[in-house]
Symmetry: C2
């Protein structure tokens, strides 16, 4: 069973966290919340879902995890200014471990400079940012490129969850 680092901060899109996390746990995987400060509660932007941060980005060791999951909303915008969060993302991508991003999740891949030549999708507001980072944007519900799985929005969650579970199995 996989141990999944879930990189999350305030203003995450609730269902883009709750639905994949429930699906991961249902299949026996372990969801660990990694954020700006351990012990801090963060909140979803629509339904105010509370999430307790288990581990700070600075103290999270990529070697302790099998996969990385980045929910969307404005949470990625808050995390990309944190150097430790960016290092963590870069490490998972460089080691080729599974990385699951949805909505504005690719913003963290852009700041980590790991999108060049990679096929990826995401929320429509960041399409130009993805292209400028060298990513190959595709308007599909789920895009799988090697270790990287991406989706656009809550409407894609079923396909996203299925693809993520497939990669972990």
């Amino acid at each position: 069973m996989a141990r999944i680092a879930t990189l999350i901060a305030d203003m995450f899109e609730d269902c883009e966290y709750t639905e994949p996390a429930a699906s991961f746990r249902e299949h026996g995987h372990d969801v660990v919340h990694v954020g700006l400060q351990a012990g801090l509660q963060v909140w979803g932007q629509q339904d105010h879902t509370p999430v307790m941060i288990d581990l700070s980005t600075a103290s999270a060791d990529p070697a302790d995890f099998d996969a990385l999951f980045i929910p969307g909303g404005y949470s990625p915008d808050k995390l990309r200014t944190d150097a430790a969060a960016v290092r963590l993302v870069r490490s998972f991508m460089e080691e080729g471990k599974p990385v699951f991003v949805i909505c504005r999740g690719p913003q963290l891949l852009i700041t980590a400079c790991v999108l060049a030549g990679r096929k990826v999708t995401g929320w429509k507001s960041i399409i130009q940012d993805i292209a400028n980072a060298g990513g190959i944007y595709t308007d599909r519900e789920v895009v799988v490129d090697g270790n990287l799985i991406s989706s656009r929005n809550p409407g894609d969650l079923q396909a996203f969850n299925y693809a993520c579970l497939e990669m972990l199995s």
Copy 2:
């Protein structure tokens, strides 16, 4: 006196709208709110400042305005998915009319593909996006490059307002 198109949507950073707008009006300039839908009320993300949209992006004619002002917060993220908003921004930049952006305002310049070779600053989360768009990011309270004035955050407002008024005088 100048007629200033203020491009604004929900979740703008309150003071990044209220302080420049007050300063513009105090000096006799006209502040017109351009947004996704005329007659719609939009709200600031901190203090819930209400702003009534005067004109939709689709019906705003750049020829009717002397300058463009884009407050920050998450408002620019919401506006950059609107083709008419992006066209409006591109038009002001191509005509060399004054363009004032703060915080995440440069996101609209990125989607409009008008940042290449331009000196600009902005909120720290979008530094990599600015660089990938060919912009020359500078970490200063206010950056003036031709018709384009930019600042980083609320702490820069005094310098931002001063530079904008100077350009309009």
